[in-house]
Amino acid sequence: MCVGLSARVVRVEDGTALIDASGAQREVSAGVLEDLEPGDFVMVHAGVAIAKITDSDENETDDLMENLS
């Protein structure tokens, strides 16, 4: 139950976001993420978008590894 689902925001309306996860679309609550916009990527848990995803995992791990001496 703790597995997060990363998805792209298609539409936001009245605190609800329509998300697309590899083609599967569903509505989730956007109640704890202000300023969500279509095109944003989010992490979804139990029907709620809990965090914006701000980068790709490849960029992220490149930065981290380059700073690890």
Binding site: M1, C2, V3, G4, V28, S29, G31, V32, L33, E34, M43, H45, A46, G47, V48, I50, A51, I53, T54, D55, S56, D57, E58, N59, E60, T61, D62, L64, M65, E66, L68, S69
Partner: protein, 350 residues
Amino acid sequence: MNENMKKARDIITSYQGKPLRIMEVCGTHTHEIFRLGLRKLLPEQVDLISGPGCPVCVTAIGFIDEACWLALEKKCIICTFGDLIRVPGTKMSLAGARAKGAEVKPVYSPLDSLAIAEENPDRQVVFLAVGFETTTPSACITVKKAKQKGLTNFSILTANKTMPNAYQALVGSADAFLYPGHVNAITGNAVCQKLCNEQGVSGVVAGFTAGELLTALATTIRLLEKGEPFFRNCYPRVVKDEGNLSAQKLMQEVMQPCDSEWRGLGVIHDSGMKLRSEFADFDARIKHDMPNIVGKPNPACRCGEVLQGKCKPSDCKVFGKGCTPLHPIGACMVSDEGACSAYYQYTEHE
């Protein structure tokens, strides 16, 4: 494989220092590390131990008994994350209650249980609210919506838990923690940073992809080698230092801390969340006048020790024999995030 991933892999495979114990606090990390084959990269000196971060696994047996009581005595419709259905209670699981006529519905989100309550106005509907900071906001949103809609046939049975005091209880059980990325996405990093600064507890926040887990493990091993306590956020694309402030505010508005029983760890002070009195109408224990129900664990099951990294699932006498995913004795064998089910799926056994 890109250069940086090669570097991460080399740091892990070439480690030759003193023995290290790294705790995967989160059950999803345990499963992903097995599934991606990363355990095979670890040299002998590096031991990955499981922690208490599977919400289904740490849910006390008495909670299952309470849910069965609501289902059978009060004839409530029980809505729950599917994982909980087969977790054994003292006498039966919710699957057992279902066989006796109880109505138990798996849902993906607590919000789905509101629709079930609206479709069944003549029945009482109870959602089983388990989970850590990651999942608790969804229960809070649901209760607020139920209140707005004026629903009188909906309530939640809380067993929500919070990590900070559990970390305290685990200090000293590992050389470093792999912190659960999605918990930190909500709470932020202050608690982990403070543990490092004040108590010398080391750890990194880890994501869930192969690259992220390799990076987190390499960072942990390299920094442990250096010998100074450390905290690093290895999942910055999702976890911000301050966490999700709206979610934190929402949880404070709807719930308040309470003592909570963790399977294996016992009762930990202020490590749970319950509904505030303003939302008492949605508290299943109050609404349905629940008696005090105390669960009795199966003496054969060593889940408690597994959840504290004190023993491996394979050290349990009934692992893979009396206890299998089809016939689980303990919660750690049921949940997809449980350490026993991970070991059963990915290691060799009789």
